[in-house]
């Protein structure tokens, strides 16, 4: 099923992408080409095959519950555009 222009705009908004109309059109074409590959898969007879969420056959991989040293704060904050009092600073968030 081809993807509509509105769906492209919706997904772009969710991804915080600002697209002009030309880009929306171009992406519609690209996304539909991608979805075309899935259409190929849809055509395969997959009856009797259990759905899988992962390509690897690993399961139950866990780490032990014991702390290791964290990274130095200066290092954690190093790439931030703005910091204050050890905090990352972002534009004001409105929440009561």
């Amino acid at each position: 099923m081809p993807i509509s222009l509105d769906e492209v705009r919706h997904v772009a908004r969710l991804a915080r992408l600002e697209l002009d109309e030309a880009e929306v059109l171009a992406l519609q074409g690209e996304l539909n080409a991608l979805l075309g590959h899935f259409a190929d898969i849809q055509g395969i007879d997959a009856r009797g095959i259990e759905p899988q969420s992962h390509a690897v056959s690993l399961q139950n991989v866990w780490a032990e519950d014991s702390p290791l040293p964290s990274m130095p704060r200066s290092e954690a904050l190093r790439n931030s555009a703005l910091t204050r009092a050890g905090l990352f600073v972002v534009p004001t968030i409105i929440e009561d």
Partner: protein, 482 residues
């Protein structure tokens, strides 16, 4: 006005009491300097790989079993995608789907005020990660602290249609759930610190209506009391609005603790389109029978079962048993005292009155106090054998609580032993009668009230240590005979 029925769904988030975070090994703690417990994984830096915490997974498994859930045979983590500054990766790792969460389709029993039991169905118990914390900066902008980012979080959601129908039941559900989590040792249950958070959703509908009303979600509830007050307020607000012919708006509302009212909140979810998909960085979990069995056998006796056992074994009231079992250490105190040979009823009474009051005043548990089960047993035995009166016992308890001295040692040191020897009491009564002929004459003339005067005289003569019941008896008998 028609009468309305309320329906309340409960969504509870419990921070798991692990030592390290959910997908990295940063330590878990409360407070501290911002951004000092962070690493590339919990900061969402590119190229970092998460590995789930085994202990956190087992905690959710044990909780799911304690809440009578079906355990997923295959359980995966999903990405819940949205943008918010406290969420460094642009998604929260969570668990989606009906039968994918570690536990689903369970229930918990809650005691009702009339002594009966109500079963509340639980839809899901799943594992996810906490977000960072945002704070408003006075100089403008918002500050982000990622110390909490990636702390293991368990979400417990009740089923729909909701079983909970009143503010009292909502509170009782939370009391029972919190107590269960504390018994399991999976969460410290501190609502004021946010390690246990409760977001009820509330709707009302006219009696007889099959359709559920529009629901509102309530946030900022950080005590049992605010849960009860908040839910009650919201039910009444909705009924009043419907009564005025208004419609209920589906929204998130905050609870204002000081004003005791709810207000509409501006919320972040402009669109509820989280585009969940299985996290490719995290492999599936499978809980085989051996793992379930190990978790099952590790479960302690849970509060409600314990309360029922106490009621059966010692004949205590349901209310008494609920108080004794709300906290595991408290229940332990009771069991130890009874094992030392004290009768359950007086032990329970002392625990739930003077002892609980003093502990509350000091804000401590019994293990941090100087009173042990042996102290209370000693005290109860002194009272049962009439060695001290109930009134003296309160003084003795207060003294023991302060000093840690055994009650019998306090009684000896202060000479507080009660005189219950009839001969000794009768002798004191005779002396009082001989010394006060005028009062005897009054008694004979019909002023029987002067008996109290004689009781007072005897109590004074014995330094207040005579058994008051026996003194009254003896005075009455002696005056009759004069």
């Amino acid at each position: 006005m028609p009468s309305y029925l309320a329906s309340i769904g409960m969504e509870v988030h419990a921070e798991l009491d692990t030592r390290s975070k959910m997908f990295c090994r940063c330590p878990v703690a409360f407070g501290g300097e911002p951004n000092t417990r962070v690493c590339p994984v919990c900061l969402g830096l590119p190229g970092s790989l998460p590995v789930p915490n085994r202990a956190a997974t087992e905690m959710v498994l044990r909780t799911a079993l304690a809440l009578n859930c079906t355990i997923a045979t295959n359980s995966v983590f999903h990405r819940k995608n949205y943008f918010y500054p406290d969420l460094p990766k642009g998604y929260q790792v969570s668990q989606y789907g009906e039968t994918n969460p570690i536990g689903y389709a369970g229930w918990i029993d809650i005691p009702k005020a009339d002594g009966s039991i109500k079963r509340v169905r639980i839809r899901r118990v799943h594992l996810e990660e906490d977000t960072g914390k945002l704070m408003h900066l006075p100089a403008g902008g918002s500050g982000v602290d990622f110390n909490r980012s990636g702390v293991p979080l368990m979400e417990i959601v009740t089923d729909f249609p909701p079983d909970i129908e009143s503010a009292e039941e909502a509170k009782e559900y939370l009391v029972q759930l919190r107590s269960t989590l504390l018994y399991l040792g999976v969460c410290d249950g501190k609502m004021e610190e946010g390690s246990l958070r409760c977001e009820p959703n509330i709707s009302v509908r006219p009696e007889g209506s099959a359709e559920y009303g529009t629901k509102t979600e309530l946030k900022n509830l950080n005590s049992f009391r605010s849960v009860q007050l908040g839910v009650r307020y919201e039910i009444e607000r909705q009924i009043a609005a419907l009564g005025r012919g208004e419609r209920i708006r589906q929204e998130t509302r905050g609870w204002h603790e000081g004003r005791e009212e709810s207000f509409p909140m501006r919320t972040k979810e402009e669109e509820n389109d989280y585009r969940y998909f299985p996290d490719p960085d995290l492999v599936p979990m499978a809980f085989d029978e051996a793992m379930r069995e190990r978790a099952r056998t590790s479960l302690p006796e849970l509060p409600l079962a314990k309360a029922r056992r106490y009621a059966e074994q010692s004949g205590l009231s349901a209310q008494d048993c609920a108080l004794l079992t709300a906290d595991q250490a408290w229940a332990e105190f009771f069991e130890q005292a009874v094992a030392l040979g004290a009768p359950p009823k007086p032990v329970c009474n002392w625990m739930n009155s003077d002892f609980a009051k003093r502990l509350n005043e000091d804000g401590i548990g019994w293990k941090a106090s100087k009173i042990t089960p042996a102290h209370l047993v000693d005290l109860v035995k002194l009272i049962e054998s009439d060695a001290i009166s109930g009134k003296t016992a309160k003084e003795v308890f207060a003294e023991s609580f302060e000093s840690g001295e055994m009650p019998s040692a306090v009684v000896l040191a202060k000479g507080l032993v009660q005189i219950s020897d009839r001969d000794q009491i009768e002798a004191a009564v005779r002396e009082a009668i001989e010394a006060n002929p005028a009062s005897v004459a009054k008694y004979k003339s019909g002023q029987t009230g002067v008996a109290g005067f004689f009781v007072g005289q005897v109590m004074r003569a014995t330094g207040g240590q005579a058994n008051p019941g026996l003194v009254q008896e003896a005075v009455k008998a002696a005056l009759e005979k004069v």
